[in-house]
């Protein structure tokens, strides 16, 4: 699966100044770097049956993903907040990979 428009909100990135301001680009890169760790924490919460922690982490990730323009991840997190029993770590890792790809592609434009 390759990254698509549904993964990245280009308009949002432009409004943020992600392509003009190095500080914003650094924050986005930082976000992408933390993704694996955050998904691992969600997987741990799901494995422990800690629904509260899973929902909170999904809520947090949804916020930062949406703020950074990664709408695919944000949508998946919204679905997870509503139905935490449907957590699929693999699907989230795939989305994280697509987010990184989409960011790289957008920077290359």
């Amino acid at each position: 699966m390759s990254a698509s428009e549904s993964d990245l909100d280009m308009g949002r990135l432009v409004r943020l100044g992600a392509f003009d301001e190095p500080a914003i680009a650094r924050i986005i890169v930082h976000f992408l770097e933390t993704l694996d760790e955050r998904i691992a924490a969600m997987a741990a919460a799901a494995a422990a049956g800690d629904t509260g922690a899973l929902i909170h982490q999904a809520h947090q990730l949804r916020g930062s993903a949406a703020n950074c323009g990664f709408c695919g991840l944000a949508t998946a997190c919204s679905a997870l907040v509503s139905a935490p029993s449907g957590f699929d770590a693999l699907a989230f890792r795939t989305l994280a990979g697509r987010a990184r790809e989409a960011w790289q592609a957008a920077r290359g434009l």
């Binding site: 943020l16 914003i24 930082h30 930062s64 703020n67 907040v81």
Partner: protein, 451 residues
């Protein structure tokens, strides 16, 4: 809030998501704010919010409810501009937040241009609101408020400690801020300590500073309010709740203020408040008489709102102006009936209750006119029962019985308030007391209209 020039642009960001706080901090700096980030409820709650111009609160924090922070800020720092950040599916919480007094709310993903435009626009308006809501010298109608005004003037002219005595909700903090803002220390910090909310250890840390546990095994030195307020005014709410051991340290701090060059010792003015007179705690050896003597030079007794009911329209005017400037809404007017109801209601929660009521009314009013029907039921009921007190005349055989029945009805409708009952019956206060004695009603149970 009385902010010094250095704190007018400090923005407190309370959000537990690192990425979001990095973005918000970046845009805050771009908009000439100095961001301070708290990633937990606990951390945010420990800060002195008097140092900030505005607060941006995420409702969902890992260790607490952002809504609770908003409520605390509204209670402790009514002039602090609070903004809420929520998810799109938290619309109901956002509405509740606005009703509680948040200036605006933003959903994630936030649009930073819109967000900071809103914050920047609110601050001068809030400053104006602060001035409107402040107790600038005014022609109060009641003798009680005129006495308070005189006390404030005297306290503002000298630099001695002040004791404010008034029951809960009587605006002790507002009056303390007024003394500060009219004093020579006005441009320096003003900090508040709520003694009743803290246990002895926490209160000691709050006042005098010390080692604070940051995480397991990690301690950081925390400055106490006495040190951080250097040059300004420290207000201690409920001084009678300060344990006697700490009262001694407080006296030391106050006595060392004068005549020493030790840079570690803060130069501060103390304003303290108590819900009741301190005679009883002194008799019970729970309050040091030397601290009382230090405080009592400037003592201001704050009346119950119902005792200065003539001034309720002035308070309503000031508070309404302040709320409307803050909430960016057109200032509604009161109908005569609404104002009468507001004046007649006993306000057991005093000014705080009046403010909360007006905030709710402004949020709910759309027509630009606030009628009696827009007021909360209990306020309306108080007024309605006054207009047409239903006195059951069946079985009343004598004039004397009728007088007793009228008196009981008036006392019930006025929640036992003699002065209001007198006004209601069109007799003097002395007559009411005479009637109470004549009918042996001194211990008549009070029926209030409150739930």
């Amino acid at each position: 809030m009385t902010a010094s020039s250095s704190t007018r642009n400090q923005l407190l960001i309370v959000d537990d998501d690192l990425i979001t706080t990095e973005l918000l901090s970046h845009f805050a700096i771009q908009n000439d704010f100095k961001p301070v980030v708290s990633s937990t409820f606990r951390e945010a709650a420990a800060l002195d919010w008097g140092n900030f111009a505005a607060m941006l609160i995420d409702l969902e924090l890992s260790d607490g409810d952002g809504f609770e922070l908003l409520c605390r800020a509204r209670k402790q720092y009514p002039q602090l501009a609070c903004f809420i950040v929520t998810s799109r599916d938290q619309a109901e919480s956002a509405v509740s937040a606005l009703k509680t007094g948040a200036v605006d709310y933003f959903t994630k993903p936030f649009e930073h241009a819109q967000m900071f435009a809103s914050i920047r626009a609110a601050l001068p308006r809030l400053e104006k609101a602060r001035r409107a809501g402040s107790l600038s010298p005014c022609e109060w109608k009641s003798a009680g408020m005129a006495t308070v005004e005189e006390g404030l003037r005297t306290a503002a002219r000298n630099d001695l400690p002040v004791l404010l005595v008034g029951e809960a909700g009587s605006g002790r903090r507002v009056f303390a801020q007024q003394i500060h803002s009219r004093s020579d220390r006005a441009k320096l910090p003003f900090a508040t300590v709520y003694a009743a909310d803290l246990d002895e250890t926490a209160l000691e840390l709050e006042l005098f500073g010390g080692e604070s546990r940051q995480s397991p095994g990690t301690y950081v030195r925390r400055r106490g309010k006495i040190e951080s307020v250097h040059g300004g005014t420290l207000f201690i709410q409920d001084i009678d709740q300060v344990p006697i051991t700490l009262q001694g340290r407080l006296i030391d701090a106050l006595e060392r203020v004068s005549g020493t060059a030790d840079a570690r010792i803060s130069d501060f003015r103390l304003i303290a408040s108590s819900c009741a007179k301190l005679d009883d705690p002194i008799k019970r050896k729970q309050f040091r008489d030397d601290l009382f003597y230090l405080l009592s030079t400037n003592t201001v007794h704050l009346p119950k709102l119902s005792d200065v009911a003539e001034d309720i329209p002035i308070w309503c005017d000031r508070i309404l102006t302040e709320i409307c400037l803050k909430q960016r809404v057109r200032r509604p007017r009161f109908t005569k009936g609404a104002l009468e109801a507001l004046v007649d209601y006993p306000w057991p929660g005093n000014l705080d209750q009046l403010r909360q009521t007006l905030e709710q009314v402004v949020v709910g009013s759309e027509a630009g006119l606030i009628g009696r029907e827009d007021l909360p039921d209990e306020v309306q009921d108080g007024a309605v029962s006054q207009d047409g007190a239903a006195v059951d005349l069946a079985g009343v055989a004598r004039i004397d019985d009728l007088e007793k029945l009228s008196l009981v009805s008036a006392l019930d409708a006025c929640s036992g308030n003699r002065r209001r009952a007198a006004k209601r019956l069109g007799v003097s206060l002395r007559t009411i007391y005479n009637m109470i004695d004549r009918h042996s009603l001194r211990h008549h149970p009070v029926r209030t209209n409150l739930p």
